[in-house]
Symmetry: C2
Subunit: 326 residues, 2 copies
């Protein structure tokens, strides 16, 4: 079985690759595990290849048809489409967001359709497809109402995938991811970047700016659970999904104040005091439009699960990233 | 004021043009009536020009950038975007539906953005954006779940327009139209074509095939009210719409059996007996996925209204089209 990860040099892409290589197989459309013989990592920069002969790294612009045609062929049985322009950047550069989040996603589906072998295709989507006056708990039948170009582009990609799946061009599925926290590394241009920064930087002995109020409620998932969910999501039986290919993933609903309390619990007062509160209206507007919780019963029935406590998420981060708490 | 109608040679386009020429003006963004000095009718075939010097007819492919650039300039203050591939045809020819219903709609928005003058742009959408397990009365916050490529393309165009409006590129609005009945003329490739045919043909002394069961519930609007709504919709104050530019238009919820009863009431038993019941699974699947009623309180608050009785709709059709009932 040949597997493709777009955004394969990114944080989630690299983790997913490592996990897939460790597992060695993925279930096919009949629920039967098939050995992964080739894992293609496509990105705009060269992905790490883990010194594994199954890995092939490709560098290219995913919005170019020839690039997609070079990495998707009739043997490509599973595609994890993670490449995206994040929320803050898609708001700042409208054309770039449209090109990658919309055009490239469509081109990927179209390339699969041309190949004609109906591969499994997993898209990731986001809390950002919701917005406006939301119920306390967003339901599966709550209308999408994106308040950012990123959210609009993700919502459009969902509709495209659903229709391509309904028509039998791909065996598609979309996972709406909670905000991922704690991400290792550096801040990025996502409006939600602070949701990792206010934990990661203080654990590292550094100050972190929190641009939203403490009462702001977030819907979070750890990188560890995100990777588990991506693999489980790709392996879900198509018949169980029917004509509705989009799933709201389980997460934890926490306020920023509760995140800070968890940080204090795990790493002490000193760490929590490294957070500098500097409200940023632009970030508050985007993040404040996202749901703080959604109904996850459908995902749970399909075998997907999230975490129980944010303090555990912080502990898992410390363990996974081998952090020396200062 | 310069006004553009895409799909200007179509049934609604021609009626809208006639009504705009009769009114002579449209309210601008300040609510002030402005004389219509030029009315451009764009379509793939030459539109009728009514022998009116204000009318300019243009023939072209709306998915071509140069065509849109030739009909939208900084003086184009209002655009009614009616051009579309109907539901049955978009299902039969996926690429054509994507090209006209999605690509052309996006190109139209993009052309406006490039011009930079923020015109009022009205898109029409459809019951077909809904589907799946629907509540008896679809609400404003009921999730879209299109079960046809036409519905998916319309839902995507809504999201695009909403985001272009939110970003200030256009002053956009989308009206979700009920199924229009009674349309004059000939059957078309819309899955809902029968909703006019089963009234129009019997009134004309001809047989008409009804491809769905009598219990099938439809959400209908007359052509007369549709045209009124398009104009009222374009004239709504942008501030009253805020960041949610999509409106579910008022209509009448009737079963096909009730439509036939209304036909009998207006034109007698003989007319009703000209309907031939021949279920067509393809049509039933598409039409059966549409809502039979939706909440219209928001549209009503904004001054839009529908009809009260389907018998009145038939009578209005007989009057407007000067039908001699046989």
């Amino acid at each position: 079985m040949k597997v493709l990860i777009t955004g394969g040099a990114g944080f989630l892409g690299q983790r997913l690759a490592r996990e897939l290589l460790a597992r060695g197989s993925l279930k096919d459309a009949h629920g039967k595990p098939q050995a992964i013989t080739e894992l293609v990592l496509l990105d705009v920069v060269r992905a790490g290849d883990f010194g594994d002969s199954r890995v092939r790294t490709e560098v290219g612009d995913i919005a170019e048809r020839s690039v997609l045609e070079s990495v998707i062929d009739e043997k490509t049985a599973a595609i994890f489409h993670l490449a995206a322009i994040v929320s803050g950047q898609a708001e700042a550069d409208f054309d770039l967001g449209m090109r990658i989040n919309l055009d490239a996603s469509r081109l990927l589906l179209e390339t699969c359709r041309q190949r004609g072998h109906k591969p499994r295709v997993l898209f990731t989507s986001s809390v950002a497809v919701y917005g406006g006056d939301l119920p306390d708990v967003v339901q599966n039948d709550t209308a999408l109402n994106p308040q950012s170009s990123y959210g609009a582009q993700k919502a459009i990609a969902e509709l495209l995938l659903n229709d391509y799946a309904r028509r039998g061009f791909v065996d598609g599925r979309v996972l709406r991811l909670p905000t991922i926290s704690v991400r290792p590394g550096k801040p990025n241009a996502a409006a939600s970047s602070f949701a990792s920064g206010i934990i990661r930087e203080p654990l590292n002995g550094e100050a972190a700016v929190c641009p939203v109020a403490g009462a702001t409620r977030l819907w979070l998932l750890s990188p560890r659970k995100a990777i588990e969910s991506l693999i489980a999501g790709l392996e879900i039986d198509a018949a169980a999904l029917g004509n509705q290919r989009v799933l709201n993933l389980p997460g934890i609903s926490v306020s920023v104040d509760e995140m800070v309390a968890a940080l204090r619990e795990v790493a002490g007062d000193e760490a929590a005091q490294r957070i500098v509160w500097e409200p940023d209206a632009r970030v508050e507007k985007i993040v404040g439009s996202w749901p703080g919780r959604w109904d996850t019963s459908r995902a749970e029935r399909l075998g997907l699960s999230g975490e129980r406590s944010f303090a555990d998420v912080i502990r898992a981060y410390i363990e996974d990233e081998r952090i020396q708490v200062r």
